[in-house]
């Protein structure tokens, strides 16, 4: 890449950064820790212990916090809007816990509901009454439970497509062997190890898996084990299906960072804000992008294998599929779209493009939606560091770089 396009890129980036300062979204939110403090201080009391904060999730204008005591008999969920008081806490109670068998009118009086109950459930030693916006467990009135995953529904098609692309990518790496680049295995394995060390923060993402009747230590163990297993599989994949990038084309990496930043700014999905609340945050900014880039590169290899028979149409199909995934694929569509996009680049540079996309996405997403200092500071440091490295590499004296074309 020459200096002129690079300069254009830098100018574009500068314009966007300045623009984003000018068009600050009013949707900046506070941290989940602040939301928890507000919930514990201001929410309507439930007359039972909430237990520890087990997980949190970002909804469009609020934080959803999930609490469970260590005996696991109930789960409390609180919706804390960014503006305004926390909603009455939702409660889910194990079906075997004893209580009272109230009449409908007594339950209605207790729930302070203007309407009659919708339904009731006879439990082992109590009767539960369900109203429009509340529920009475035995003689304990509470709000209804919010599910953070209500918008996701069943496993989405884009997720299935991404898994299929990963499988075809893995197959492509096995049936079309190429000389691997051992130098990149170590960063991937190291990233897996570092991500494993951050398991304590990651399990906060599994708030919906805490259910009444299951003690939280069991849920935490299962979550941690599944997470470790997934990381082990990625580490094993790095050995079995090694990537073969050329030495980085800094302009492609820079383009990736820019695109990722733009994507993050424009989409800013709620899960990215949830991640901003996890600690340690640097895992997600540095280690996670390496792993996701490896997976995107693998999926892009799969796309390349699948569209080979299309010849010159392959690029159009790739672009169209990327646009479709982005438009209709939801959260998983981002990964699928990135895979299709990366497949348009030369095989030696896909990893670097994907790495750029991943490095730029979270800082971009946080830039407009996060309203507390930590993530903004870290995102700024990361972006300055990455872009500084890219610009330094582009503008330094051009060196003779070995490429796969020249090698072979």
């Amino acid at each position: 890449m020459g200096r002129v396009p690079a300069l254009i890129g830098v100018l574009l980036l500068a314009a966007f950064v300045l623009g984003s300062w000018g068009f600050q979204s009013p949707k900046r939110c506070g941290s989940p820790q602040q939301a928890a403090q507000r919930a514990e201080a201001q929410a309507t009391p439930l007359n039972l212990l909430w237990g520890k904060l087990r997980g949190f999730s970002r909804l469009p204008d609020s934080w959803l916090l999930v609490y469970q005591p260590s005996h696991g008999s109930w789960v409390v969920s609180v919706l804390v809007p960014d503006l305004g008081r926390p909603e009455p806490p939702g409660l889910a109670v194990a079906s075997w816990l004893p209580g009272a068998r109230l009449s409908a009118s007594a339950a209605q009086h207790l729930a302070r509901s203007p309407t009659s109950p919708i339904s009731f459930a006879e439990r082992l030693a109590r009767r539960d009454w369900y109203f429009q916006a509340s529920v009475v467990f035995g003689a304990l009135p509470a709000g209804t439970l919010e599910s953070p995953w209500r918008g996701l529904g069943v496993f989405p098609w884009a997720g299935s497509l991404f898994l299929g692309l990963l499988a075809s990518g893995a197959l492509a790496r096995r049936i079309r062997p190429h000389p691997p680049l051992p130098g990149l295995r170590k960063p991937i394995l190291l990233a897996c190890l570092v991500m494993l060390l951050g398991v304590g923060g990651v399990i906060k993402l599994g708030g919906d898996l805490f259910v009444p009747g299951v003690r939280p230590f069991v849920t935490l163990l299962v979550l941690a084990a599944a997470y470790a297993l997934a990381l082990s599989v990625i580490a094993a994949s790095a050995l079995l299906f090694p990537i073969f990038p050329n030495s980085p084309d800094w302009s492609i990496l820079g383009t990736g960072v820019l695109l990722g930043w733009l994507g993050g700014l424009s989409l800013s999905p709620s899960w990215s804000v949830t991640i901003a609340g996890l600690s340690p945050r640097w895992l997600w900014l540095l280690a996670a992008p390496i792993l996701v880039a490896f997976l995107l590169d693998l999926a892009a290899t799969g796309v390349a294998l699948l569209v080979t028979p299309l010849g010159s149409l392959a690029r159009i199909v790739g672009l169209g599929a990327a646009a479709m995934s982005l438009a209709y694929g939801g959260g998983w569509g981002l990964l699928t779209a990135a895979s299709f996009l990366a497949s348009l680049f030369p095989s030696g540079q896909r990893f670097w493009l994907a790495l750029g996309l991943c490095l730029g996405f979270l800082p971009g997403a946080w830039w407009l939606s996060v309203g507390w200092l930590g993530p903004l500071r870290d995102a700024l440091i990361l972006m300055c560091g990455v872009l500084g490295l890219v610009l330094w590499q582009i503008f330094r004296a051009p060196l003779e770089r070995a490429t796969i074309r020249r090698c072979g």
């Binding site: 696991g72 008999s73 194990a94 079906s95 075997w96 816990l97 004893p98 082992l124 030693a125 499988a167 893995a170 197959l171 096995r174 049936i175 898996l209 259910v211 009747g213 299951v214 003690r215 069991v218 849920t219 299962v222 084990a225 599944a226 297993l229 599989v233 094993a236 050995l239």
Partner: protein, 455 residues
């Protein structure tokens, strides 16, 4: 004499111990006699002046969680007691009697013609007690709670609710009896056991936790099956010689067996795929000749002993575990089929495919441990403390991994089938355990003797 005679002697000794242990276990098992149940059901119906007509059918009904909660409550009270599974005896004319052991817990009869005169409330309790005394000898310990009546098409239907608590029920448990009369004819009797919430809560909570742990195992095995699928596709692309016919045959066998046992379709497909792929890729690790079947039978018997003794050990050390484990409601064919299904579906994957896939990373020992670990997560039972259930399974699964390392994974299939048949059979009310265990032990002893002492 060959060098195998010390092992043969040891095995015969082990089988002798197993025989004594099984004999002891067999005394406590709850077996159901279907013919006796039918005659008891007929007698119960005749006590309410009804003679059933048409073909008679019997089936088993059991509430596993309730049975375990009962066991736990009795354990807390310092006694060992189990609940019998319920036998449902029904006729073509919709008459139905449900028996738990020798006790009638439900009786339903059709009302044809005139149901008799309506009884005033003051006479109702005496009438019910008089009529049901032959069916429920312990009816005196029940007290009347309330009466409800309604009129339907000119006939008065009345319901009487009785209840009792205290001995012989565990602390906090209640038993309710509902009697419905049409006119003066008893139309329906239903006896319900109401458990103490904390007993039920421990069992239900543990069961829910175990289902979470099982998810983890399925996630791990799913990854293994995906890896095997990729490896198979790679070999297909390079046109390597693979035992396709055997793999498809095994997959189909698992599929049809699972369908016959009415398992979930997705689950059967998963195991059929996994076992087929494992055979495809790890055929050379299945083991060859000479066939070690006598030793496999011995190990299967010893593992079954271990599984049954483990619960006793847990109780001995102050914990709790359901003594009779999984209760299968079907006949002997279903119990045997379940044992074979578990052996055919899980062993090729854990001891074949998984070892083949993971050994390059962890070595055969490490891969064997991973296989045992995952295998032990699949069929856990609730226990207090919970890890005790896992530890017992893990030791048995380690035995299977060792056998697969020593003789190949086909030996593990045989051992698993024997082990599962014996341990599931002891809790299956219709399984001829008293015939099966001596037969297996005799066969194993003869096989070991022949293989160990021949010149």
């Amino acid at each position: 004499m060959t060098r195998r005679w010390p092992a043969a002697l040891l095995s015969l000794l082990g089988l002798l111990v197993a025989a004594l242990f099984f004999h002891d276990q067999g005394k406590a098992r709850a077996q159901v006699d279907l013919e006796m149940s039918q005659s008891l059901a007929k007698a119960a119906l005749s006590a309410v002046d009804f003679v059933p007509a048409g073909e008679v059918r019997t089936s088993l009904r059991y509430q596993r969680i309730l049975v375990w909660a009962w066991e736990r409550a009795c354990w807390e009270a310092g006694r060992a007691s189990g609940l019998f599974p319920s036998v449902v005896v029904s006729w073509d004319d919709h008459a139905e009697v449900v028996l738990r052991g020798w006790e009638v817990v439900e009786l339903r009869r059709p009302i044809e013609g005139n149901p008799g005169p309506h009884l005033p409330t003051v006479l109702l309790e005496d009438h019910i007690r008089h009529q049901l005394q032959p069916i429920f000898p312990e009816l005196a310990s029940f007290s009347l709670q309330r009466l409800v009546s309604r009129t339907l098409e000119g006939v008065v239907w009345q319901r009487a609710y009785f209840a009792r608590s205290g001995p012989p029920l565990p602390k906090g448990w209640r038993e309710e009896l509902m009697v419905e009369l049409s006119g003066s004819t008893v139309a329906l009797v239903k006896r319900t056991l109401v458990p103490e919430p904390s007993d039920m809560g421990v069992v239900m909570g543990r069961w829910a936790e175990l289902s979470r742990i099982t998810w983890l195992a399925f996630f791990a095995v799913g990854l293994v099956v995906a890896g095997l699928g990729l490896a198979a596709l790679e070999r297909l692309y390079f046109r390597l010689h693979l035992p396709w016919f055997s793999a498809v045959f095994l997959g189909l066998a698992v599929w049809f067996l699972g369908r016959e046992l009415s398992h979930n379709r997705a689950l059967i497909l998963f195991w059929a795929l996994g076992s087929g792929l494992s055979l495809l890729l790890a055929r050379d690790q299945a083991g060859g000749k000479p066939s070690p079947w006598p030793w496999c039978l011995v190990l299967g018997v010893l593992l079954a002993c271990w599984s049954l003794a483990w619960w006793e050990l847990v109780v001995l050390f102050g914990g709790w575990a359901p003594r009779f484990g999984y209760i299968l409601g079907g006949d002997w064919a279903q119990t045997l089929g379940e044992a074979v299904f578990r052996a055919l579906s899980e062993e090729p994957v854990f001891r074949g495919g998984l070892l083949w896939l993971v050994s390059p990373f962890l070595g055969r020992g490490g891969a064997g441990f991973v296989a045992a670990f995952l295998g032990s997560l699949l069929h856990l039972l609730p226990a207090v403390p919970q890890p005790s259930a896992f530890l017992g399974e893990l030791v048995a699964q380690m035995g299977l991994s060792f056998s697969a390392w020593r003789w190949g994974w086909f030996a593990a299939v045989l051992i698993r089938a024997t082990w599962e048949a014996l341990r599931l059979g002891v809790a299956a009310p219709l399984f001829p355990w008293q015939v099966i265990w001596p037969s297996v032990i005799l066969l194993a002893a003869l096989g070991v003797a022949w293989a160990g002492f021949r010149r």
